[in-house]
Amino acid sequence: MLIITCPWCGERPEIEFVYGGEAHIARPADPSALTDQQWADFLYNRTNPKGRHAERWRHTHGCGRFFNAVRDTVSDFFVATYKPGDARPDVEGDVQ
């Protein structure tokens, strides 16, 4: 089973977590000033990278908190997890 490290609870099994989409997407301060294309980008368009991806997870069946994780979308390897509000950690090199 895939083990995910919750920033509060430590190493826990994958089935306690739910995926929450891409991380670090801030809601525009003034939506009415945006064009339709900009608003659609905020709502729907995601980076969908092949490789390291910053995403939100929630430890639903644990502490119940959201946190962020950097995961490799090719290998499904969790490179790092960090608390919401923290900047994306700069993880260098191949840590797999």
């Binding site: 089973m1 509060w8 609870c9 430590g10 826990r12 099994p13 089935i15 306690e16 069946h61 644990g62 502490c63 119940g64 908190r65």
Partner: protein, 185 residues
């Protein structure tokens, strides 16, 4: 609270006595869910009579009262010696003026004790956590899953676990525990 009919009544009455992993129903007690920020945590512990544990996934017990860390701002308070309204009033008085949430959840969950040398093995049939004493020591409490049901799991002694499971899931969890320990009968 205790005047509700337990869905485990008949199951517990007919349960076999298997020494490797005994199952028993824990007497219903007052349970409150407390949520609050930094400033409210100390006064809540003072009002409750047990300092709320600040370390993740731990519980603290003093006499008939138990406080379990469930999240960075969330604790489960269990009191065997007070009724919900009185305890809630005590805590509200201790927390006057501080933003917090205090909810009576006494009727939400039922307690099941799993006790015996194979208790961890039996729980592991449905719970994916590492229940070795190094990874899940005495005094640890956490929300987790038991098969398809969400539970709160606490280790009271090396061989005794307390499982708090929501009422409607209780017969399901009990049935799976029975199934898991049948090999030791």
């Amino acid at each position: 609270m205790s005047d509700l009919i337990s869905p485990l009544g008949t199951l517990a009455a007919t349960a076999a006595d298997i020494a490797a992993a005994r199952l028993s129903v824990i007497a219903p007690a007052t349970q409150l869910s407390f949520r609050g920020r930094e400033a409210a945590i100390g006064p809540a512990g003072a009002g409750f009579g047990v300092d709320l544990p600040r370390q993740a996934c731990r519980f603290a017990r003093s006499g008939a009262r138990l406080a379990a860390w469930l999240g960075p701002d969330e604790w489960l308070l269990i009191a065997e010696d007070a009724d919900p309204a009185a305890l809630q009033a005590d805590l509200q008085a201790a927390l006057a003026g501080l933003p917090h949430a205090l909810v009576d959840v006494s009727a939400r969950a039922l307690g099941i004790a799993v006790e015996g040398p194979r208790a961890a093995y039996v729980l592991n049939q449905g719970c994916p956590l590492d229940l070795d004493e190094a990874a899940f020591p005495v005094g640890m409490a956490t929300r987790t899953v038991f098969a398809k049901a969400e539970i709160v799991l606490m280790r009271e002694t090396p061989e005794r676990f307390r499982v708090e499971v929501w009422r409607s899931f209780a017969p399901y969890a009990w049935g799976l525990l029975e199934e898991a320990r049948r090999e030791f009968a």
